[in-house]
């Protein structure tokens, strides 16, 4: 165990005793459950990301002790990442970008009258992914951090390319349309201030576009607004089809079918989460792509396959623990959420990093224990919320449609208090309908839009380090390996498509 640089068993016992004392306080559990509840609630509201949820609730921790604060913040973080999947499965409205990937199979399951099954499987997969991510965090954090720290611009470019290539390879519809969809997303990711030179590109004098095209309104438009505007295709569910049980658990057959997918996605999600700069959205989409690629005969990816839900949820949860690996072992925040977490910890006088384990092993151990308990708290609340959230489906679909449209609009507005973002959501709602009509897959477009800037910036940085040569890839075995893997994956998926057509 890396967390205990202790010399003797007696010291270890003392630390264990302190950890136990820290977590056996009622206030700790109240904070943990309140954090998980608020996280799930805010995550489920379209437009409110995990980063926003934590930023909104950080002030509440000012008057709390450090242990209670950590419990509240981790509860919010994990809860928000899970909570985004609830509206994604029920209304095709992802609460967070990472949850967009669960729509592909979660929403068709809901339409088949199996919303409870999809939500309960999502919560169990979340727990499985969390267990894998947390185990890696506790036992292998230094090793993973060392690998992740070798990721420079070339490797990050390769990683972004891998994500985009994978999702193009497994997307529905003709391959050429998938490539075009991803390229369109890449082109739109160039809108805004050039990250290297600061020159504003394609903003047409609009100050609101300086930071780039905000992808949360785009996401809301492509999935939620387009679904609410398009007529009959999304109204296939009858009120009587909705089965609501008092305690919904996924069938044993689903768990038997999906445990391998959960395991693989969990490992992948934790590694992606541990890489600074990569986030849970990449983990979710790449894991979905991998699961779809290794589909067996009879698997119905895209039309309600339980493995699709399991892959995304497991990867997302593992990724949340993964992002804490560089944070706790090296003091490096991997994404915006962990950056806010660092700020909150520093406010309480705690500096995350290797010294934390040397100077305050009891607190470090408490943080690790809280990671595990927070995941359990989210799981318990998620399972308990299945019944209440599926009850909403008993409402007449017209109410739901009006409600989804209104929430989508307010969610887009809430991001920056800007009407321009609402118009972006509306325009992309129409774009989403047009894309579906022309059989252009939406997922490659969205992922390319999210990862476009990461790909471009790191490509340019890596090339700059090699005197402008794009052959920098050859000098980085990790980047070369990732890109070769991406192209092998792409070739294999294309071959599979060809065989299907023949």
């Amino acid at each position: 165990m890396w967390l205990c640089p202790l010399d003797s068993l007696i010291d270890m016992e003392t630390v264990a005793g302190e950890i136990f004392a820290n977590v056996s306080v009622l206030g700790y559990w109240v904070s943990l459950l309140a954090g998980a509840f608020c996280g799930i609630f805010f995550g489920a509201v379209p437009g409110v990301s995990a980063t926003m949820a934590i930023a909104l609730l950080v002030p509440f921790t000012f008057g709390m002790d450090i242990v209670g604060s950590i419990a509240l913040l981790l509860g919010i973080f994990f809860g928000a990442i899970y909570g985004g999947s609830i509206p994604a499965i029920l209304f095709k409205t992802p609460g967070t970008p990472a949850s967009a990937a669960v729509i592909f199979d979660g929403y068709p399951l809901m339409r088949a009258g199996q919303a409870g099954r999809a939500l309960s499987l999502a919560s169990v997969s979340m727990l499985a992914g969390a267990a894998i991510g947390s185990a890696l965090l506790v036992f292998l954090a230094p090793q993973i951090s060392q690998i992740a720290l070798k990721f420079g611009p070339a490797e990050l470019f390769a990683m972004a390319s891998f994500g985009i290539i994978t999702i193009v390879a497994v997307s529905d519809g003709p391959l050429l349309k998938g490539i075009l969809s991803a390229l369109a997303g890449l082109l739109l990711s160039c809108i805004g201030m050039d990250p290297m030179s600061g020159y504003p590109r394609y903003i047409f004098g609009t100050a609101g576009l300086m930071e780039g095209l905000p992808f949360i309104p785009v996401l809301i438009g492509l999935f939620a607004v387009s679904g609410a505007l398009a007529g009959k295709s999304d109204s296939g569910i009858e009120k009587n089809d909705v089965k609501v049980r008092f305690c919904e658990l996924p069938p044993l057959s689903d768990l038997k079918k999906t445990w391998k997918t959960m395991f693989k996605s969990g490992i992948l999600g934790a590694f992606i989460g541990a890489t600074p700069g990569a986030g849970c959205d990449i983990a979710a989409f790449v894991s979905y792509g991998m699961a779809k690629h290794s589909a067996m005969q009879g698997d119905k990816f895209g039309s309600g396959e339980v493995k699709g839900v399991a892959a995304v949820e497991s990867a997302k949860a593992a990724c949340t623990s993964g992002t804490l690996i560089p944070l706790l072992s090296l003091g490096i925040p991997g994404d915006s959420v962990t950056a806010i977490l660092v700020g909150a910890l520093v406010l309480h006088g705690v500096q995350p990093g290797p010294l934390l384990f040397e100077n305050n092993p009891a607190l470090a151990g408490t943080i690790l224990a809280t990671v595990v308990f927070a995941h359990f708290a989210v799981f318990a609340l998620a399972l308990a919320s299945v019944r209440w959230s599926t009850l909403i489906l008993k409402l007449d679909e017209k109410y739901i449609k009006a409600g989804v449209l209104l929430l989508s609009i307010v969610g887009s507005y809430a991001l920056r208090n800007n009407m321009g973002d609402v118009w972006i959501a509306f325009v992309f709602g129409i774009v989403g309908i047009a894309m579906q009509k022309a059989k252009f897959p939406v997922a490659p477009f969205l992922l390319a839009l999210i990862l476009g800037q990461m790909a471009e910036v790191n490509f340019r940085r890596a090339a700059m380090l090699e005197d402008g040569s794009p052959l920098f890839i050859l000098n980085s075995p990790i980047a070369l390996g990732i890109l070769v893997a991406a192209f092998v994956f792409f070739a294999a998926a294309s071959f599979k498509r060809l065989r299907k057509r023949m």
Partner: protein
């Protein structure tokens, strides 16, 4: 086909605008992407043309009719109502315009009674306002009725 033409137009515009950038480095990446889009869109159009030449017209017709089923006149009305709502919101304020919008959608879609539609519309708008403005401190538009 229409989306391909749109993509061609957008990529030509992107290449032209990138040519005006004073910083070459800032123009390079979008220009490459736009050139690839241009070439692939033309290729996609050519492939579609070849397919329709080989009797793919029947297939295209079938898929087209499936799609048109999904996007009907009521969808157009919804889109128009949403656009009008977005235009009016800064002037009428969030609660008033949202209540009106929800009631309008329910009247148009579900042929619901005016009172019931208005009750749901304003009730739900007030609920959403309470969450976003009250809990999350989002400054929603207040309009003339501030």
């Amino acid at each position: 086909m229409k989306i391909n033409i749109l993509l061609i137009a957008v990529s030509i515009l992107a290449i032209w605008l990138a040519g005006e950038f004073p910083v070459d480095e800032a123009a390079a990446f979008p220009s490459w992407v736009a050139w690839i889009i241009l070439i692939l869109s033309i290729l996609d159009i050519a492939i579609s043309a070849c397919k329709s030449g080989k009797g793919g017209l029947v297939e295209n017709k079938t898929s087209g009719s499936e799609i048109s089923d999904n996007f009907d006149a009521s969808s157009l009305i919804m889109a128009a109502m949403t656009a009008a709502y977005l235009l009016l919101m800064p002037f009428l304020g969030f609660i008033f315009s949202s209540g009106l919008f929800c009631a309008g959608v329910l009247r148009a879609q579900a042929r619901m009674g005016l009172l019931r539609a208005a009750a749901f519309g304003y009730g739900f708008s007030a609920f959403v306002y309470a969450i976003f403005a009250g809990v999350m401190n989002v400054a929603l538009p207040v309009g003339f009725f501030n």
